[in-house]
Amino acid sequence: MRSSLMPLAADRHLNALRGRLRQHAILYLFIAPFAVTTTVFGIWPIVESMRLAFTESYSALGNNPLYVGLANFRSVVLAPQFHDSLWRTLLYTALAVPLNLVSALGLALLLAHPVLERGRTLFKLAVFLPVVCPEAASYIVLKSMFNQDYGAVNYALRSLGLPPFAGLTKPWTAFATLLAIETWSHVGLYALIFLTNLQLMDKSLDEAAAIDGASRWQALVWVIIPQLKPAMAVNAIYALIEFLKTFSVVYIVSRGGPQFSTTFISYYAWTKFGSGQYGEATAIATLLFVAVFLMTGAAYRLMNRSDYR
């Protein structure tokens, strides 16, 4: 039985503190597996990779790694193959991002068309299927579409009376083939992001434009597309990161050839690993990471500065 108010208040205070501590403890317990997997399978390998970038390759995996300062970075940056693969990656990204965004926007506008009532789900399904389909299978199948002997692409071109497409047999057409294959498999996600935003859009603006006598084209350019700016920004960042890191399609379809025409920076780093040049390979990985990090940071900044949403 308590006789005064003072100890009761102190008691309550203590109880609250204990409660909060218990709450904190259980939240730490909740986050522990997430923290551990992120550290062991994310941060540790990243730090390890950065450490290896400063070691001499042949000693990198031994017990006494030889640290060579920036020597790996120097030899990587001075190698002409590095410059070639870097420029190739930048060109590929510069082509792939607008190509994907424009086709995605076109697809979204088509699929959002008010006339398309029946079958809209089916068309959405078709466009999105490659996004959930395993790349291992879809890239192999797409590669055979461009085959010179039995590919569907050349068959279609020939039946239209057009000259055949060299596909993976010539450097520049191989570059274009990878671009086409990747667009086919990724564009569905970007299209769906546009489509969702189109369907959430303020219909009254569209109606107001129609009352003011705007043509469909004018409404598209002045009313609809400006409202898609946030979706455009999200898509642009995704696409930028996705295409700067392009690897799977090269590994599965072209193996960097012919004549290095599809050796992008990440595949170049992988070939360095294959030949045991761990120091150089991790130096390239570190450089690419810094580039992606800075670009994403800059893109976020740009997005936050302009008043989206």
Binding site: P33, K124, L129, P134, A285
Partner: protein, 276 residues
């Protein structure tokens, strides 16, 4: 009349688009039932001459390993990674939402963001060394843990928890509910749809994985269908029909799953993508 023309044009365009996206899948299915010679002589034949199952039969053993090994690896690795990943990222996102200001919490969040910004294929190589040091190389456990956390699902959970009415949790705290009770009685029932979507999307995304599995394997014993397909494809003197048959086996389960659950899958992708 004008409306009729517009309808025709729109449906025509949409059908062409659908054909471009679906045809390769159809072609793969047909090619898996045709011999190499038949494909070469008449590549675009819409229906096989005879349904030849030689391609599928030749899959019974790939490089001396039974197809069932790859099938069960695919199911076990994808299934375990999905269940673990949803539990781990779900609880992690929940803790971050409940009290983001606790010491170390923002560090954990930034750590995760850095991990997903790092070029994933290049993360896999040092991951190999880490798995080696932990004795997890060539073990299913290592592969499962390495691929389990799906960023999209993490963002989906974050987005969902933000929509949970704070007043409900406040009221429960005033009523003296413990943190565990809040989770099991209030949050979990609300989170059931997002958990199911998370499981679905994790499954689809983990099923696509091949590079980490290939690198963290020491032999075909831990290969999944995808990795087996890639190694079959890079062999010399390939058996094209067998490759197409294996591609069908790899695609069919997820294609069916996606068609049956398309609404949730697409909504889930959107929920995870908006805040990326």
């Amino acid at each position: 009349m004008r409306r009729r023309i517009v309808t025709c044009v729109v449906y025509g365009l949409a059908s062409t688009v659908a054909l471009v996206f679906l045809y390769p899948f159809y072609w793969m299915l047909m090619a898996s039932f045709r011999s190499q010679a038949a494909i070469l002589s008449e590549p675009l034949r819409p229906w096989p001459e005879t349904f030849e199952t030689a391609g599928f039969e030749s899959l019974s053993s790939i490089g001396g390993v039974s197809i069932w090994t790859f099938v069960s690896n695919s199911l076990v690795i994808t299934g375990l990674a999905t269940v673990l990943g949803v539990a781990i990222t779900g609880l992690g996102a929940y803790a971050l939402y409940r009290n983001p200001r606790l010491p170390l919490f923002s560090l954990i969040r930034y750590g995760f963001l850095i991990k997903i910004m790092y070029p994933s294929m290049m993360l896999v190589i040092p991951l190999y060394f880490v798995a080696y040091q932990l004795g997890l190389l060539g073990r299913t456990a290592g592969i499962v843990l390495a691929i389990s956390s799906v960023p999209l699902v993490f963002f989906m959970f974050l987005e969902f928890f933000r929509s949970v009415p704070g007043a409900m949790i406040e009221a429960a705290i005033i009523d003296g509910a413990s943190e565990l009770q809040i989770l099991t009685w209030i949050v979990m029932p609300l989170a059931r749809p997002v958990m199911l979507t998370g499981i679905l999307i994790s499954f689809l995304i983990n099923w696509k994985q091949w590079f980490p599995i290939m690198v963290l394997s020491t032999g075909p014993e831990t290969y999944t269908l995808q990795v087996a397909l890639i190694s079959l494809n890079s062999e010399l003197g390939v058996n094209f029909q067998a490759i197409m048959a294996l591609a069908v086996l790899t695609v069919l389960p997820v294609a069916l799953l996606f068609v049956l659950t398309q609404r949730w899958v697409m909504e889930g992708f959107m929920a995870g993508s908006i805040k990326g």
